[in-house]
């Protein structure tokens, strides 16, 4: 590794020395293309974040793709109904790796104010792995921008040689729930989500944040 002082000196001479990993991650984090779909009122805030006033383009994430094949990020913006959940999982399966999920708003996180509803999924993280949760009902556009920046930090910290998607044996398919007679079957994907075992885990998870 080249030390920071030498890197700085070289930069003054117009020579940029970075690792391939840094360049790779820099390219990915600067062009996170979200999948263009909204499920409820959070989508309005997402639209506001993409429009001129908040301008998601500053973070390279303004290119909303209308097909999952070209998308890197799924912003689950709104209430996921049980009828919609299989389609959300199917779309996520159709996205190429590396792919990320932002659960935007109380509904996408937990069902929110509609949690008691007979047709409301109690959190999209029961079926697909969520990278960033944004609380709020709906979250302000700034909160979505913060989530994008948080995701960028996560991408920067990823290592090429240890990523899941270059593992030939890793599965990228998440099982799509089927519509049963009373509920979705299964009601959650245990490989992605399991209910906490102890209440202390829930409270500790909030205070014990990794540094």
């Amino acid at each position: 590794m080249i030390d920071d002082g030498l890197t700085s000196e070289l930069q003054k001479q117009g020579v940029f020395v970075v690792s391939a990993e840094w360049l790779y991650n820099w390219g990915r984090k600067s062009s996170i293309w979200p999948l263009q779909f909204g499920l409820a009122c959070c989508a309005i805030e997402m639209i506001a974040a993409a429009a001129a006033r908040y301008d998601l383009a500053r973070f390279g994430a303004e290119v909303f793709r209308a097909t999952p094949r070209q998308a890197d990020l799924m912003i689950v913006a709104g209430t996921v109904t049980k009828k919609m959940a299989p389609q959300v999982v199917r779309l996520f399966n159709q996205m190429p790796e590396p792919k990320y999920v932002i659960a935007m708003g109380a509904c996408a996180i937990s069902g929110g104010p509609f949690k008691d509803g007979y047709n409301v999924l109690k959190g999209v993280d029961r079926y697909i792995p969520v990278d960033v949760h944004i609380p709020g009902c709906p979250p302000r556009p700034e909160a979505l921008l913060h989530a994008i920046v948080t995701l960028q930090e996560k991408i920067t910290g990823q290592h090429i040689d240890r990523t899941r998607w270059y593992d030939a044996h890793a599965t990228t398919e998440f099982p799509i729930p089927t519509c049963g007679e009373h509920d979705l079957l299964p009601s959650s994907n245990p490989e992605v989500w399991q209910p906490p075992k102890d209440y202390a885990d829930v409270t500790n998870a909030e205070t014990k944040k990794p540094a």
Partner: protein
Amino acid sequence: MPTIEQLVEAVRAAVSGAVIEIIPSTPAAAQPALLVDCEHAVAVARYLKDDPTCRMDFCSCVTGVDYLAKGYIEAVYHLYSVTLKQGPIVLKVRAPRELDKCHVPSLTPVWRGCEFQEREAFDLYGIKFDDHPDLRRILMWNEFTDHPMRKDYVPPADYEWEPTPHDDVLKHTKADGGIMPPSAAVVEVKK
């Protein structure tokens, strides 16, 4: 618009054999309803639509009401006249709660706009509308077998955990040996 009593007299004269009952509402709502028997519901609806003093050409709302204790379900139609700028007239038909007997006549042949709303009432309340052109579920998926707006509907137990369990969720969490917050004991004492 004729008063509700005049209306009932006129309908009885026009549709022979129709059994019509006035269901009073609260004084504040001031919206008494006409309860019509199933056999004559379509004829009464046609009369309300065609009569020159009523001209109920617009059915704005179709819904169901479940009377669990009384053992019946009502389909409720709210009718307005766009031509004469009047309304509403509230039309009700009643059927037993049992799923195999819960049949009422469809008014879609009279008001085309009832189609989706009757499908919704079928989906959520299990009211079967006879002679409906396309009676399928509209909100829930086709494989679904329950009718969630019925009072005796039991939702699936998909609360694996709840940060602040209460009421039914609290009982369910306890019964399943789920995790309990420290505050659960306090909640119980208050009850």
